[in-house]
Structure formats: C-alpha cells, structure tokens
C-alpha cells in the first residue's frame, strides 16, 4: 500500500456504489436512521430536561413524594428505566427490521467477492 491511500477495499468500489444505490440498501439506511435519529433526540431531550431541572428547578426537584424520597431521586431513577427501555426497544427493532436486510445485502456482496474476502481472511490470520 502506498503512502496516503485509504484502507484497502475487499470489493471493487463500484460494487459498493451499486449496493449503496440499491433499493434494499436505501430501505436499510432509512430503517436505521428512522429509528436511531429520533430516539437519540428523544433520550437527549429527556436527559437534558433532567439536568436543567436539577440546575434551575430546585424547589420542584426537592418536593417529597414518599418519606424522604423526592422528585429528584425518582426523576433520576426514571432515567435508568428509560435507558434500559430504549436499549431493549432498539435490540428488538434491530433484530427484526435491520439484521435480515443487512444479512442479505452482505451475503450478496460477499458472494460476488468471495475470492477477495478469502484473501483478506488469510491476511488477518497470517
């Protein structure tokens, strides 16, 4: 490999370009971005709300609910709940909607380029 060239490709670039333009891949990208972008915005805003309330709404956060357990503590614990929930939702979504499409596109590409892929595996285990 000569200086200043990008990493070696396992398939000729035009195959990747063709794959990228295929309806299957466009659908996969849409399915991925359609889930992860809105979800990222949602959890970030939810977390930001928590931090902002901690800074500017001390009275509200200090409101006692049961015994010494106040809104701040419950709000914090809800961040744990939402994190676990989003992680679970994503894992379910990915295995149902993303993995089958990704697997198919990969198999098509790897099938076309199996000779190159084998070379690379050899290199990796050399």
């Amino acid at each position: 490999m000569s200086t200043d060239t990008p990493a070696p490709a396992s398939a000729p670039p035009d195959r990747y370009v063709a794959a990228q333009r295929s309806d299957e891949f466009v659908g996969l990208r849409k399915a991925l971005r359609g889930f992860v972008f809105p979800m990222t915005v949602a959890f970030f805003l939810w977390y930001a709300l928590y931090v902002i309330l901690s800074a500017y709404a001390r009275g509200f956060m200090g409101t006692k609910l049961v015994g010494n357990i106040n809104v701040a503590l419950v709000f914090g614990l809800l961040q744990f709940v939402s994190t676990f929930l989003i992680a679970w939702l994503y894992s379910r979504y990915a295995s149902q909607k993303l993995d089958p499409v990704a697997d198919k596109i990969r198999e098509d590409l790897n099938g076309e380029t199996s000779a190159v892929a084998t070379d690379e595996q050899k290199e990796a285990t050399a």
Partner: protein
C-alpha cells in the same frame, strides 16, 4: 513480600489496621498473581496483530459486555461517585445517570457501525475515506490525550486508597515514608503492573483481566449495598433520612445543588456560572462515552456487529445495576461513616467507599477484625478496579501510537505486523511512564471529577469526527482534522485556564493564578466548537469522495468486507 516488610506493617500501626493491611496486601497479591497468570497464558495465544490489538475477535457478547463494564466502571465510578454522594449528597448521582445514559449514544449511533468498518483503532474509521497521514496523526494525538486524562484519575484514586490502607495521615510515617511518598510508591507500582499486563498480554490478556475485575467489583458493590440496606431494614427512605441528618444539611442533602450549580447568595454572576457548569458537566458526561478510545476498541474484540450490539446491551445492564448500587454506597457512607471521618482521610472523598466497608464490617462481622476484613476486601477490589482500567487505557493509547502513528504515518502502511506490535509494546511503556509522572501532581482532585474532564475532551475531540465520518457524505480530511484539533485544543485549553488548574485553593497549582475561564468543565463550549470546526473544515475543502463513502456506508451498515 518479605518477612521484614510484613513485620514493618505490624509494628507501624494498631492491631485493627495492621490486620487490614496484611489482608489487603495478601488479597491484592492473589489478584495480581491470578491476573498475571492469565496474562502469561494469553500471551501464548497472542500471535498476530489481530490477537494483540483485538483479542483475536473471539470474545462472546457476554464476555465483552463484562469487559466493557470492567473498562468503564473505573475508580471514578466506585471511589469518586461514592465520595461525592457521601460529601455532597444527591449531586453525585448526576454522574451515575450521565455515565449510564451515555451508553445510548454508543449503542444507537456508534458501536455496530464502528465494528463493521474499522479494524484495530478509532482512527481506522475516521481515516477510512480520508488521507491517512493527517487524520491518523490527529486521531493518535487525541486518543493519547484523552487516555492520559483518564489515567491520571485512576492513579490519583490508587494513591488515596493506599494512604487509607496504611493508615497514613498527614504527619505520620510508614516504613520511613510519609503519606506523599507512599502515594508516589503506589502510583509507580500500579503503573508498572499495568505496563506488564499490556505489553505481555495484549488485548486478550487485558480483556480477561477486565472480566475478572468486573465480577469482583459487582460482587463487592452488591454485598456492600445489601449490608447498607439490611442496616436500614431495606427501607430506602430511612437510609436517606439518616444520611441527610448525619450530613448536617438536612433535606438539601437529598436535592441537587450542594456541589454543582451552587447558588451563591448575593452573587448573581457566580450563581450563573455555577449553573452553567452543571449543564456543561451533564453534556460532557452523556456525550463523552462514545468518544473514549479505550471503550471504542472493545467493539473490535467480537466477531460481528450483532455481537457488538449484544455486548453493549450486557454492558448497559451491568453498568446500570452498578450505578444503582452507588446510591446505597454514597448515602450509606454519609450516614454510617460521616463527613468528618471521610474528609479527615481524604479531602475529596475518594476513600468513602472503603471506609464504609470498614464500618459495615464492624457492624455485621463484629469488632475491629471484621471491619479490617471488609476494608481489606473492598480495598483489594478497588485496586483491581484501578489496575484493570489503567491497563485498558494504556492498551488503547499504545495501539493508536503503534497502528496509527508508527505503522500508517511514519511507515506509510509498510510496517510488518511484528514491528507494529513491538512498537505498541514500547509505546505502552512510554505512556505508562508519562502518566505516572503526571499523576503525582494531581493528588488533590476528586477522581470522578478528573474523569469528567476526560469525558469532555473525548466528547469534544473525538465524537464529532466519529459521527460525521459515519453519517455525513460530504465530510473530508480537512473536516476530520479540524474537528479533532478544534475540539481537543478548545477542551484542553479551557481546562488549562479553568479553576481546576490554577487560581483556586483546590486547583492542581493552588499557589499560581492564570485562570480566566470560569467553568471547571469545558464541555458546553468545547463540544459545540468540535462540531462547528468539523463542519467549517469540511466546507473549506473541495475534497469529497462519494465512492469511498458508499463503500464505508455499505460496510458499516451491513458488515460486508468487515475484518
């Protein structure tokens, strides 16, 4: 350990603490012996560069999830958060929440795509469609900077811990060493061990060390949590009430505002800055994780993107559970140890968790011996925690130096695997030595706080470049270089001119004053600067390689051609 040294331990202090010392040292030596055994075994399995950098990509989702937990739950999580909660109450919990929620960025946006498109280091993805030399150089600089900030925090934790174990307070000595000398000796010992793990065991050895450590830390924290709750008959409200009373702050102890975003009566400017500082910390915590090089390279140790996803899910479960324990540890220490006893030992609160262990031992196992035993076990767990994390950090930075800088920048991709791995080993030694020297100057800072700075630097210098690389077609070499240096320089520069480094009694250099930046965490300024620089840098260069982006995108999303 020679007989004289053990005799020295016995002579040096009263019975209880000498039992604790001997036991801690024994347990710690057992941990070191077991992990060194694993490391040597792993070194025999390490033949190729893939073995050294990525553990042969042979770990399962659960194994890597545990190892991620081991890499992530550092001295900051265990000693630092417990300490802040013990001294300032609720505010410490902010760290637990930020550190956990941050994993969603890694899960949703980074882990799988990085696994599919990279090979050994973070820079593999950043440089994929760029000119190699400038991007890899920038990525190596940033990787090493973030890792050294993080290393400092761990070493400071180790120093604080040893002073507690040896019972050294200001003015007393141990084996002819005063507290400072003993701390420095510990830092050097921890540094030497981490260098051995990394140079001998590579990623495979380091990963097993992480797994063992995660198991020990989870077990230790679980036992302490159960004991604290048992003490309060499993009534959380009573525990909180007792902690609030013991703190002398009343219910304010259970609300945000004692440590961060402090309202200073009659000083609106100061109050304003304090609140912005809290927001800044919150942003740095949540955006930092997905830019930490030692976490990112863990995704390369599994065979596929699906396994990478599984390992993050395991990690979220393990880490989330641990951070729930920190509530019991911190408030338990506030109630059962008390502020005075904690600050007398360590002004920043870094020893609250082991002190709580001692109190719980006295309470449940009976007498000084029980206390000493618990202290010894938890202190050994804490040492194991620190040792594993510093090994992960050293591996990440030495890998980047060898793979990115040596092999791809200096040798232009012509280095042999053997040369590359040898350079990585030497780099581990050099980075270990540098961090040992630097951490001697940072002894007075809370470790969770120091880690928060590392998060800010990672979020500013690395995250913008990673996200642009994966999702923005137009992004190019100039953009990547601008994003990394812009974010990195603004983050580190602002820290340098902040009250953390000078101009405050708690600063690294309390007797000097060149401070003008009012916030102690730079994230709220430096992270947007990182994103902005990446955007400007991209637009001012005409370079754009759509074909190469097509390849990156297809590989990232499908795993075609993945290493």
């Amino acid at each position: 350990m020679s007989r004289d040294v053990i005799a020295g331990f016995t002579l040096a202090a009263e019975a209880g603490s000498s039992t604790a010392r001997t036991l801690t040292i024994t347990l710690f030596l057992v941990f070191v012996a077991v992990t060194l055994g694993i490391t040597i075994w792993a070194s025999r399995q390490t033949k190729t560069a893939t073995d050294y950098y990525a553990g042969g990509r042979s770990f399962s989702g659960f194994q890597n999830g545990m190892a991620i937990g081991g890499d992530y739950m550092s001295a900051a999580s265990f000693l630092g958060i417990a300490g802040i909660i013990a001294l300032y109450g609720y505010d410490g919990f902010l760290y637990s929440i930020g550190f956990l929620v941050a994993w969603l960025v890694a899960l949703l946006l980074v882990a799988e795509l990085l696994r599919n498109s990279g090979r050994y280091t973070m820079a593999d993805v950043l440089a994929f469609r760029m000119r190699q030399k400038p991007v890899r150089t920038a990525a190596a600089v940033s990787t090493i900077t973030v890792s050294i900030f993080y290393l400092l925090a761990q070493m400071v934790g180790a120093g604080a811990l040893v002073a507690l174990l040896l019972g050294i307070r200001p003015g007393t000595t141990f084996l002819g060493m005063d507290a400072d000398a003993a701390k420095i000796a510990t830092i050097i010992m921890v540094g030497a061990l981490m260098i051995i793990y990394v140079t001998v065991g590579g990623m495979k050895g380091t990963t097993y060390v992480q797994i063992v450590k995660a198991f020990l830390l989870m077990s230790g924290a679980l036992v302490m949590t159960l004991l604290v709750l048992a003490h309060y008959k499993f009534n959380l409200s009573t525990l909180l009430g007792d902690a609030a009373n013991a703190s002398g702050k009343g219910s304010a102890f259970l609300e945000p505002g004692l440590r961060y975003g402090v309202e200073v009566a009659g000083d609106a400017t100061k109050t304003f800055y304090n609140k912005v500082d809290l927001l800044s910390l919150g942003i740095a915590l949540v955006l930092g994780t997905a830019g930490l090089p030692h976490i990112l390279i863990r995704f390369y140790t599994v065979p596929t993107a699906k396994t990478a996803r599984k390992s993050v899910l395991w990690a979220i479960g393990i880490i989330g559970t641990f951070y729930l324990f920190t509530l019991a540890l911190g408030f338990g220490a506030a109630a059962l140890v008390g502020r005075e006893a904690i600050t007398a030992q360590d002004a920043a609160g870094n020893t609250a968790a082991p002190q709580l262990a001692e109190a719980l031992g006295v309470d449940f196992l009976g007498g000084d011996v029980g206390g000493a035993a618990m202290l010894a076990i938890i202190a050994a767990v804490a040492f194991a925690t620190i040792l594993a994390v510093v090994a992960g950090l050293t591996l990440a930075s030495s890998s980047s130096l060898a793979h990115d800088f040596y092999a791809n920048v200096i040798k232009g991709g012509q280095a042999s695997e053997r040369q590359e791995v040898n350079v990585a080993r030497v780099a581990a030694l050099v980075i270990g030595a540098i961090s040992i020297v630097l951490s001697i100057f940072a002894q007075n800072l809370n470790v969770a706080f120091l880690v928060a700075l590392a998060f800010a630097v990672a979020a500013s210098g690395n995250l913008p470049a990673i996200l642009y690389s994966l999702f923005w077609k137009r992004f190019n070499t100039s953009g990547a270089v601008w994003a990394i240096y812009g974010g990195l320089i603004s983050a580190v520069g602002l820290v340098f001119f902040s009250p953390v480094v000078s101009g405050a009694p708690t600063a690294m250099f309390p007797d000097h004053n060149w401070q003008w930046f009012p916030l102690s965490n730079p994230g709220i300024i430096s992270i947007p600067i990182g994103f902005l620089c990446g955007w400007i840098g991209t637009l001012i260069s005409k370079e754009s390689d759509e074909d190469k982006y097509a390849e990156l995108e297809v590989r990232a999303l499908t795993g075609a051609g993945a290493h």
